[in-house]
């Protein structure tokens, strides 16, 4: 009789701490010590002061712009690009024998893409933080919430310029704070308002709506209900979406001319706001400007459907694609009891027995794979962060650029693809070739995967034909890829 497969040894506690909860081991990590008190190891990180933030006092981060400055820079660049295009068009209109024509076109260099520079600096800061984190559970939470409340840099240059600032301003300060506060910060942020088209949504009966004949855009309202809070199928109807979109009219970003306020900042524009009371999920919200939608957001942040939706997503992210119902129920209960206190929820995650007994079956997402690989390899040659950003594009998870407002998939099926695995192999090989210093393969294995490594993996690594190949094999090993 075949041995029952379903008698699994509990996974190695150090690997659970470092892979399931963290961002992966680094050479020099003492896995035995971590295994002795893995929960304490994780909780120590959560307790650190300001651990969720990109440290502003680090000189490497001194150049980061807040979202207002980033958006203003993008607006100015857009004007310059337009001027350059107009000039080029004017030159093209000139007769070919006019000597000034081609010379002028050459004289003016292409306008540099300021948005790409800002995006790269933000990516660098994010990678720096991830590479230094011990063990990175808090950064994993940042990644979770950033994907939950995602914006896409592909939407427009202003979103590319402000995607990093959005994460620093609307996500990070609240990752161990209150869910309702994060929700309010996100939905007030210009990057989100722009990404989900609310900056142009106008109440049909508002002054601007009557004058300009433009109207509602329900994109933001729908995605708040469906993705950010209650979850699809939780009982709201099309009428709720429309009505909530009415409430959100006037939530916008001040434009370049500054007619509504400082360009690039959030403003409430009463002229675009749909007047009067509005109904959401059977409750009437009296008219009253910006406070109307804020009151609605505060209510849906506390809705039981929101607690279930968030609990389910967290358990799926940290435990298994089909999360154990008891773990989901426990997280939802803590969410409700603590009024969405995300620090309590993080500590609950660490304490969940299922997190320490479920087998390590999830495949690292591309983002976590690239970070884990860079942590494992240590210093290397190559142009960062462009190299990591290129790898992420090749793997199908470009940074801050999900295909839709539901973010990147958190399921193994989406990433365990033929093309994905082949690309991981290419990347592992590149990383191994570029590593500055590859230590003794056995020692590297001991500090990155530890004693629970399978005989087959150990053998494959020890029989490799070069140090580079041994490192690439380690980076491709199931023990490295799964969590």
């Amino acid at each position: 009789m075949a041995a029952p497969v379903s008698n699994p040894v509990p996974p190695d506690k150090a690997l659970v701490a470092l892979h399931r909860f963290g961002l992966g081991a680094r050479p020099g990590d003492e896995l035995g010590k971590i295994a002795a008190d893995p929960r304490g190891y994780l909780k120590a990180e959560v307790k650190q002061q300001d651990i969720t933030l990109i440290p502003p006092d680090d000189p490497r981060n001194a150049g980061l712009l807040d979202s207002t400055a980033a958006i203003q820079a993008s607006m100015a660049a857009a004007m310059e690009r337009k001027a350059a295009r107009d000039e080029k068009a004017a030159v093209a209109m000139q007769p070919a024998d006019d000597p000034a024509g081609p010379a002028m076109a050459k004289a003016r260099p292409a306008v540099p893409r300021i948005e790409a520079d800002i995006y790269r600096d933000e990516a660098q800061a994010r990678f720096d933080k991830a590479l230094a984190a011990t063990p990175g559970f808090v950064e994993r939470l940042v990644g979770f919430w950033s994907n939950h409340f995602c914006v896409s840099a592909a939407k427009a240059p202003v979103v590319r310029a402000s995607a990093g600032a959005f994460e620093r301003e609307a996500i990070r300060p609240f990752v161990l704070g209150r869910f309702a506060d994060m929700l309010l910060a996100v939905e007030h942020h210009p990057a989100m308002l722009f990404y989900l088209d609310n900056q142009q949504s106008i109440g049909p009966d508002s002054r601007a709506g009557r004058r300009r004949g433009r109207g509602l855009n329900e994109n933001l309202a729908r995605e708040i209900l469906e993705l950010h809070t209650l979850g699809v199928g939780s009982g709201y109807a099309q009428a709720d979406v429309t009505s909530f979109a009415d409430m959100l009219t006037g939530w916008t970003m001040a434009g370049r001319e500054g007619r509504l306020g400082e360009p690039g900042t959030f403003v409430f524009n009463p002229n675009a706001h749909q007047p009067g009371e509005a109904m959401l999920l059977g409750k009437t919200y009296p008219g009253g400007g910006m406070g109307q939608a804020e009151a609605a957001l505060n209510d849906i942040a506390r809705h039981p459907a929101t607690a279930r939706h968030i609990a389910n997503k967290l358990a799926r992210h940290f435990i298994a694609d089909d999360p154990p119902p008891a773990a989901v129920a426990r997280l939802a209960a803590v969410f409700t009891k603590t009024d969405g206190d995300l620090r309590s929820i993080a500590l609950t995650l660490i304490d969940l027995p299922e997190a320490w007994s479920a087998p390590l079956t999830k495949l690292l997402t591309p983002l976590d794979y690239v970070v884990a690989l860079r942590r494992a390899v240590g210093p290397s040659t190559g142009n960062e962060p462009q190299r990591s950003l290129r790898w992420l594009r090749a793997l199908g998870q470009p940074l801050w650029q999900p295909p839709g407002p539901n973010g990147f998939s958190d399921q193994t099926d989406a990433w365990a693809s033929a093309e994905g695995l082949k690309t991981r192999l290419d990347i592992a090989w590149q990383a191994a070739k570029q590593a500055n210093d590859i230590g003794d393969p056995d020692e590297t294995l001991a500090s990155l995967i530890g004693n629970s490594v399978s005989a087959e993996t150990r053998q494959a690594i020890s029989r490799a034909e070069s140090k580079q190949q041994s490192l690439a094999l380690l980076l491709m090993a199931p023990e490295f890829q799964r969590r």
Binding site: R214, L216, N217, V232, D413, A414, T423, L425, R482
Partner: protein, 412 residues
């Protein structure tokens, strides 16, 4: 009440009556007709984000169309006139290849179509579109893979497996039947030595990763195999822009043209969620449609003599509102188009039981009302290309859909 569009070819109703008469028909090994060397292919293109069918194939003959679709409505006059398909419909001018194929009888449109899904969540809508299940849920397999899995064992279509194009595998082709994966990317490759060692390790420790990696390596060898000049394709971004769509079609066509290559493929193109400044004959949507048109052209070129056996179907999770919104775009709607192209398609037809665009004719007072079921189209293609029976289609491939009859005679 509803206007049945008269086109030079049989109407949808006529087609359905023929299909009904043949309902008792069972498995017919039509895919392997030695006599005419027929070797059918099916390519499924998913347009994720909800395609505005009314700006893709505009009902320019409907008196209510221009008023509802406003500044972005297609028109037969103006600077960028739409390309007329028949007396009533015209295709977006960004799609000249499609218009040419239509004239040549190699492209068709099913209009006012929708899946069985009637809410407006992209993600649930895509789930239904790709899983083929009656409603959204935790689907892990797609209808295209189940179609493959239900072909007779040993059949050459089943043996060659499916092809998934893009960095991740679309749900529609996930499942038990083998699937190759390929995407246009250009990273230096590590050579066979490392690959063989990693494969050996996976074969011992992680069969799921082993199978995936093996397929990825196979696909790469096949796609690169006949590039004798050593030219590699440079990635130009994801599959949400025109260049990426064209490139992915180019590579997929190369893989599918091979005698031992996959006969069935799925591609997912992103970016169709046009809430703001959608554009009409030019602009954002037109750019994307130009990419889709380029993909049709690449398949036509790359499949060369196999083009005559090929059917391409482009589908989306749902349509968009008939009336433009407050930001010169459209919000999530219901009815939309299915586009068919390929040498095997009985083209030159817009198949539509046109519901009309008067306020009372709109679904929920806002969307193009669906009168055709996308599943009927897909079932018809699977039946006529691969000989899958209505019973298998209604039970295994699209569970609980026996009432949705295959739309027959879409292909030769």
């Amino acid at each position: 009440m509803s206007l049945l569009c008269e086109t030079p070819n049989p109407s949808r109703r006529a087609v359905l009556m023929t299909g009904g008469a043949l309902f008792a028909w069972a498995y017919l090994p039509r895919f392997a007709r030695a006599a005419d060397n027929r070797d059918p292919r099916l390519i499924v293109i998913l347009l994720r984000g909800a395609l505005d069918g009314l700006s893709t194939v505009g009902p320019v003959g409907d008196p209510d169309y221009a008023g509802l679709h406003g500044d972005i409505a297609l028109s037969l006059s103006g600077a960028n006139p739409a390309l007329p398909l028949d007396g009533f419909f015209a295709v977006n001018p960004a799609m000249p290849v499609f218009a040419r194929l239509f004239k040549a009888g190699q492209a068709a449109v099913v209009h006012a179509a929708a899946t069985g899904y009637r809410d407006r969540s992209h993600f649930d809508g895509q789930d239904v579109l790709e899983s083929g299940l009656p409603g959204p849920g935790n689907a892990t397999t797609g209808w295209l893979n189940r179609a493959l899995a239900n072909l007779p064992a040993g059949d050459r279509i089943a043996k060659a497996g499916g092809l998934a194009v893009g960095p991740s595998t679309p749900l529609v082709i996930r499942g038990a039947a083998p699937v190759l994966g390929w995407a246009p990317q250009a990273l230096p490759t590590p050579g066979d030595a490392l690959a063989e060692r990693v494969l050996d390790l996976y074969n011992h420790r992680d069969p799921v990763l082993a199978a995936a990696l093996q397929k990825g390596l196979d696909a790469d060898r096949m796609a690169m195999g006949d590039q004798l000049d050593g030219q590699t394709m440079n990635p130009k971004g994801g599959l949400g822009n025109a260049a990426g769509m064209r490139q992915s079609a180019q590579g997929a066509a190369r893989l599918m043209a091979a005698d031992d290559g996959p006969r069935i493929a799925a591609l997912a193109f992103d970016g169709w969620d046009t809430h703001v400044n959608e554009g009409g004959a030019t602009g954002r949507l037109a750019n994307l449609l130009g990419g889709l048109d380029g993909a049709f052209e690449e398949f036509e070129k790359g499949l060369s003599e196999r083009w005559k056996d090929t059917a391409i179907v482009a589908i989306t999770e749902f349509g968009r509102t008939a009336r433009i919104n407050g930001t010169v775009g459209t919000d999530h709607g219901t009815g939309t188009v299915v586009l068919l192209a390929g040498g095997a398609v009985k083209g030159g037809r817009v198949i539509a039981d046109w519901p009309g665009l008067k306020p009372a004719q709109l679904y929920d007072g806002r969307d193009l009302a669906p009168t055709s079921d996308v599943r009927a189209v897909l079932k018809g293609l699977l039946a006529d290309q691969f000989g899958l029976s209505a019973a298998v289609l209604g039970d295994k491939v699209f569970p609980e859909s026996a009432a949705v009859k295959p739309m027959r005679d879409l292909v030769m």
